[in-house]
Each structure stands twice: as structure tokens, then as C-alpha cells.
Symmetry: C2
Subunit: 515 residues, 2 copies
Amino acid sequence: MEDKAKIQEAIKVQGEVVRKLKSEKANKEQIDEEVAKLLELKARLGGDDGKHQFVLKTAKGTRDYNPKQMAIREKVFNTIINCFKRHGAETIDTPVFELKETLTGKYGEDSKLIYDLKDQGGELLSLRYDLTVPFARYLAMNKITNIKRYHIAKVYRRDNPAMTRGRYREFYQCDFDIAGQYDAMIPDAECLRIVHEILSELDLGDFRIKVNDRRILDGMFAVCGVPDDKFRTICSTVDKLDKMPWEDVKKEMVNEKGLSEEAAEQIGEYVSMQGGKTLAERLLQDHKISQSKQACAGLSDIKLLFSYLELFHITDKVVFDLSLARGLDYYTGVIYEALLTQAGVAQISTEAQNGATSEENVSVGSVAGGGRYDGLVGMFDPKGRKVPCVGVSIGIERIFSIMEQKAESSAEKVRTTEVQVMVASAQKNLLEERLKLVTELWNAGIKAEVMYKKNPKLLSQLQHCEESGIPLVAILGEQELKDGVVKLRVVATREEADIARDHLIGEIRRRTSEA
Amino acid sequence: MEDKAKIQEAIKVQGEVVRKLKSEKANKEQIDEEVAKLLELKARLGGDDGKHQFVLKTAKGTRDYNPKQMAIREKVFNTIINCFKRHGAETIDTPVFELKETLTGKYGEDSKLIYDLKDQGGELLSLRYDLTVPFARYLAMNKITNIKRYHIAKVYRRDNPAMTRGRYREFYQCDFDIAGQYDAMIPDAECLRIVHEILSELDLGDFRIKVNDRRILDGMFAVCGVPDDKFRTICSTVDKLDKMPWEDVKKEMVNEKGLSEEAAEQIGEYVSMQGGKTLAERLLQDHKISQSKQACAGLSDIKLLFSYLELFHITDKVVFDLSLARGLDYYTGVIYEALLTQAGVAQISTEAQNGATSEENVSVGSVAGGGRYDGLVGMFDPKGRKVPCVGVSIGIERIFSIMEQKAESSAEKVRTTEVQVMVASAQKNLLEERLKLVTELWNAGIKAEVMYKKNPKLLSQLQHCEESGIPLVAILGEQELKDGVVKLRVVATREEADIARDHLIGEIRRRTSEA
């Protein structure tokens, strides 16, 4: 087995790490992570009985959701799903794993983050990395050329988890996509409208949606003298502009990617530009960029897009930003990204600064992104038939973190159940009567609970109501049974009233619909 | 690469299989499966260009859910979740994979069906096999001693898939469990009440809930002379009684498991017994079984359970059945299983008979099961502290199959979106006006769609409404714009009325809340 001495040595070192962090008053979550490592080592050492000690934890980079987190999650999902439904979306589901081959060649360098299943003498399988590639596979496989669908499900990336910054190896994606051959920019504009609606409704503070187009980027690279075969790699470097200053980006272009100083300078001028419809119009007149047909096509579409965004009343938050690049290979047209610009985000990034390199802080506000990918479905079709698609993915984990923090700091308690009434008794030997009454309530569709004890104390029944936010208690006693009534108590005010048994259900409905 | 000639030979053989099935008029799904295999072979052969052809399929034993299936799934989930909430349950979520070690030693022989992830130089991970073991791990890890929770999520088993019979390698489980030290049989009875409510509300036809107790089984084995170390294996054999006749079960006990003929005969007598509270009372007087303390404890609890089931008004469907054994090792007390006894089930089992061995048909009606497992949480606690638990798992995939068949055979169309109104135009050049109006509707929270075309034909807009069940169309034309009205058309009746623009939202709300 394991070398006991080695583990003991590791425990010593890890103990030092924890002590150091504590003395430096590092943030709580970071300390917790290191303490967990320490406990794991100690567990490996085993007890005195020499028995193998079980490591009680979830897999690295994953977490359980407790009832309170689930209640918040449900609320966020409902807001998002309602918005998707308001825009007429259907939903589909795909398996959590795909043939490995399906994912191959779709994610560039990030392919190394794909989780493979063990080869157990069958097909080679991988956990899905996102919902977009399974969606494209689904469209090609079922020969679907028109669909507006949402898909909310977990995806998997073997990234170095930074859980204190809300990054996990297992996390949810919330995708909305429109597939089909339509007139330019109408579905694209609706995707932006959806982002706007969701971020407004979730009330996460102010936000901005950056928009650009891959064809503009490519055209800009061409007119600035970037060789064709360097478009993608230069694009990746531009993508870092939200994480590092221009000077560093330029250095990477010149020193690492071998771009000329002048080309880099010219790119630098363009990527500093931000604006709206008029910027697109101005660039269409720009003597240089207008030489690129591609760029012109992109710029005209941006112009058209903004005219639709005006009709959708969302131009206040949308900005045409030539520095927006986005990492994924498969985008072919419009791309966009939404960022939170205040409030909750500030807290998160402050927290992130402990132990995080500065690069990772700046883009922490990104909560949605997407774009047009007209070629992906064709990669799956045996005859290469294309289905144009545009979509958006909501960065739900970051939103959860913010909502959780809001809930923490709010005075209002998050309820984890929806129980309307607790059936209780003040005296002994009334279990049967309690079960009879709770059955009546369940039959009427009322959410009701009873304690699983023969003779619970009234106080502990009332305490349970206080703790879990149950608004009403229906109390039974000998006298009430004799009189054919139930004592209905309002937990918040402690008011009590005798209600005739026949009227109880109506009374509970009346009181809980008021709330 | 692959030997072309070999694949061509395989294609020939597979072609024969498909032709034969078609000539025999085998069921559609079976033919589809074989056709899929044929297509896969053809894909492997590749095109004339010699390029590697992509196999366009989901992993073996998995499937996509299309929008119609999702709509049905959502309906079923809502019914189940509402019931869980009515009984005061919270919900949690756990990761899709666990440390391999967490699952080890929990599932007996079935452990071979666990999906392992590839060892990529980190922890050894496995996909969860059920939701019960992760729940127990969660309780132990968080030192929770009291909770009533539901969990709806996918689980994974590398079983030989029989997809035509609704069995998959990836499938949903819907679990409800009550953890905590309570007075006997109260939570157990509530679990049965929940099964009763759900199966009644889903309207799946008549059903029965079989109940037994592990202690009664063990006591019975003891008094019939089964050696202690054979309890579990004999229990597994008894568990097959719903799939094979007593004679075969007896043969397995005597010939394979080495039980004496007399012992087997005695077991045979007991396991043929079915009844209710009075059967439990009679067995408590039985000179033989009453010699076992364990059995008596179990029988007393069954008696008590039935007295609570009477108060819950569900004894009409519950039967105490001594042949019920259930496979899982971790049960320690009451066990139960719900079976559909008519209607939808008949269709499924008829279908299943094609290509299925007769053994697999009989138990096809099982749609829920569970029991008490007081030792599982203790297996995870470093100090072995026990948390008594009882729970139930709803066999949701089988229920989906039945609901899908019901939907197929019903005249009513399953809607996959909730769109209330389509914003349309009869004339050209009204895209802007349509976008303006749809924005007004979205702002008012109305579910509305617009076609992504500059100048769609009115007919194609109306057709879309017919196909997707949208009840209303708001039609804009030059004249309507001039008059400040919108023509509101009821799709079903083709009635049209001019509505003042200011009143449109109210009118749409009124008409769609009526429906």
C-alpha cells in the first residue's frame, strides 16, 4: 500500500500551508480547500485499527447542491426558462456522453479538457464538453433544418478548478439556439434581446453586451497584413484583451506569434474602437478596412443588427466592440458576450483576487456569450449540408454565485420547501387524528406536513414551522375534536382561531393565496 | 483501416436481417434498431472519396429526447415534483460522477455494470449507478441526521440495453427519501402514500403495491432451515418469482444453491401467501415463523404499517406479499414495489414479446420500488454513526413510455411550445412593424413569435400556427396601422376581429387564460 512515512511527511507540509494561510488571513474558501487536502491525507494514513479509511468527498472540481442552493437554482432556472418559452423555444435533451469521435476536432486546444470514459470493450465515449456540438449532431442525425430550442444541462471540463472563483469541472449550461435559413440578423437580434431580458429580470445590476463579427475580425487581420494561416492564432491573442493590457497582447503577437510590429500597431488601432451603428457606418467608409469584402459583409450586418436592436429597445446596453474575439473555432458571423458591470460582480472579483492571478479577475463579469455558427451542423452531415445556426449560452454558474451571495446578505430567509400547513397536536395519543387530518389536506392538494412521532411536543412542532418558514399550523386537541373544529395558528403573529373542520381547507387556501 | 470486403459482407447479412423482420412484420422499433445497425455499417464503408465517414449516432443504450418527448417528460415530472412538494420535500443535487471508492461494495454483483471514467492521472471516478448511494454519502459528509428530500437525475448502468422494452444505459431516477430517527412506520407509510398519489394522478390504469420486510424474509429463511450464509443468495432467487414460475425458482434453490428439498418446499409455502393486516396477525401466531424474533419484529411492523395505511386511505391497493424480495443488499426493513396491472402495460408487454425472452415480460409492470435502509449512511460515516432512512424510487422511464404511447394514440396533439400569439403580416415591408409589436408583447410577458423573414407569406405564417398549436394570430397591415388596430385571428375558428392597439394585450390575456 502507501508509504506511511511519506504520507506523514506530506501531512506536515500541508499543515504548514494551512497555518500560513490562516496567519495571512487568506479567504475562507481557500483555507477550506487546503484543510480538505490535509484531512484527505490524514484519512489516507488511516486509523489505529489499520483499516482503510474512506475519503468522504465529491470528485475534484465538483460539488453537491444543498436544498438552499437548489431553491435559488430553481428560481434562476425558472426565470430563464420562462424567457426562452416567451420566445417560443422548444426543448430537447441529449445523453451526457457522446461517441468520442463526435467531439473530436471541435474545440481546438481545449480538447485536452474532455473527460473520456474508460474503454470497457465497447464504444469510445466522452462526457459532453458543451451543448452546442451535441445539438449540431442532433440536427444532422435527425435531418432537422428548422428549430428554436433551449437546452439546460450539465457539461464537463477537466479544467484546473478554481472553485473559489465559481469555476467547476461539472457545471450547467443554459443554451438557446435558432437553426434555419432565415433573413439576415433577425434571429441574431432575438438572441441579444433574450440576453437583455434575462439579465434585466434576474436583477444582477447593470450590464453591457459586446458585439462583433468574425468576418470583421478576419477582414481586419487581412488588411492589417496578417498572413492567412495566422488568423486563428492572432484571433486567440486578441481574445485576451479583456484579460490583459494591449501592450502585453501586442508583445504576444509580435514576439510569440511572429507578427510584424506595423501589423500589430494597425490591429491595435482597430481593436480600441467601440460604438454602435454609426461606428459600423464609419468603418464601411474606412479606406483600409473597406478593401475587405468579408469585413464589409460583417459591417453591413452589424448595421442591420443594430436597426433591429433599436426596434427591440435594447441598444442602451449593446456596444459594437472590435476587440471582442471569442475563443471557439466554429463561429462564422456575429459574436457577442454579456458582462456585468457592477454590484454583485464587484464582490466576486474582490474575493477572486485572493490567490488568483490578476489575469483571471478582469473577465469575471462575463455572464453570457454566443454567436453564429453556420458550418458546424455540416461537419456532421454525410453530404456536408449546412444548417445556419445562431445561439447564446447563459453563464449560469456565475449567476448562481451572485444570487447566493445576495441571499446570504439579505434578511429574507430562503425557503427550501413549500409547505403551507403543519398538522400538530398539543396532547398525547393523537397521532391517528393527525394522520387523518393530513390525509384530508393532501387529498385537497394542500402542501402539508406532520411530525413522524407518536407524541411530539407542541413546542418542537412550532419550532419546525419557524425554522422552515411554514406559515400555518393546524392544531388538534381533545376539545377541538369534540367541537368539530381545528385551531388554526398563524406562525408569524401567533394568532389562533377555531375553524370548523368543514371550512378548514377553504380557510387554508384563502390564507396562503394571500401571502 | 477496416477491411472493406468484411464490412460489405456484414452489410449483406444485416440487410437480410432487416428484410426478414420487415417480412415478419416485426414491431417498428425493432426494425428501426436493425436499420440503424445497417446504416452504421454503410457509414463505416465510407464514400467513394475514401474519406473517413463519420458514424452519426448516440452512444449505445442512450437516446436523445425530442421536443415532443420533452413536453411529455415535463408533464410527468411536474406531477411527481408537485406530489413530493405537497409532502414537504426539499431537493438536492449531487455530481454525475463519484469517487469510484464511494460506489464500491454497495451493489453486489451489479457492480460490474458501473461506468468508470478513464484514469487520466487524477482520482478514479465512476458515473453514479443510482441516487441512493450518493444521497447516503451526502448525509454522512455533511453530518445531516434529518432530511426529507427528493432528487430527480440521470443514472448510468452498462447493462445490455433493451431499448425496445424501454431499458436504457442512461435513464432518469426520481427518488424521495426520509432520513431520521422517527417512530416506527410513520415515514414508511408516507412513502407508500406518495406512490399511491403519483400513480393515481398520472392515470396509468390500475396498480398494486406489494409490501414485505427483509426481517420477515430472513426469519422465514431461518425457520425453514436455510444456512445463515445463504440468506442473501436465496433471497436473490426468491426475487425472481415475479419473472419465473415457482418450479424453476425451486430448482435454482435446490440444484444451484444447494438447498435441501424440504427447506425449499417450506419456503414455497410461505412465499405463496398474500394478504393484509390479518395475514400479518395470522403469521404472528404461526407456530413456526413466530420462533424467529426477527420475523416477529417485521410482522408487527407490517401490522402497524397497515394501520397507518388505513388512515391514509390507501389499503385498497396495498398487499402484503411474502414473495417480494428486491435485489439490493442495503435494505434492512420494509420493502415495497408498485406494479401496473392493466391498460398501458398490456401494450408494452405485447411489444416486448417481440425479441424478448419470456422472463423479461412479466415484471414489465413494475413502476416504483423502495424500502428501508438503516445501515447505508453508517457505511460512509468514519465512526459508523447510523442514520435510518426509508425511500422510494419512481421508475420514470417506463412511465414515459406509457405516456408516449398514450399521446400517440390520442387525437389531441402534444404542444411543444407555449406560444400564445404569432405576430404576422399580410403585406410586404412590414418587418419593422412586426418587430415593434412583438416587442410590446414580450414586454408585457406574452409568449409571442414572429417569422424570421422580411416578407413571409400570410399562408405560411398561418400554417406555422396550425402546426405548432398557436391559438392566436395578431395580423398587421397598412390599413390596421392607419386605424391603430390589430386584426386578432383565432386559429381554430378563423374568426377575426379588429382590436384597438391599446387593448390588444388585455384581449390576448383574456383569450388565452380562458383556454
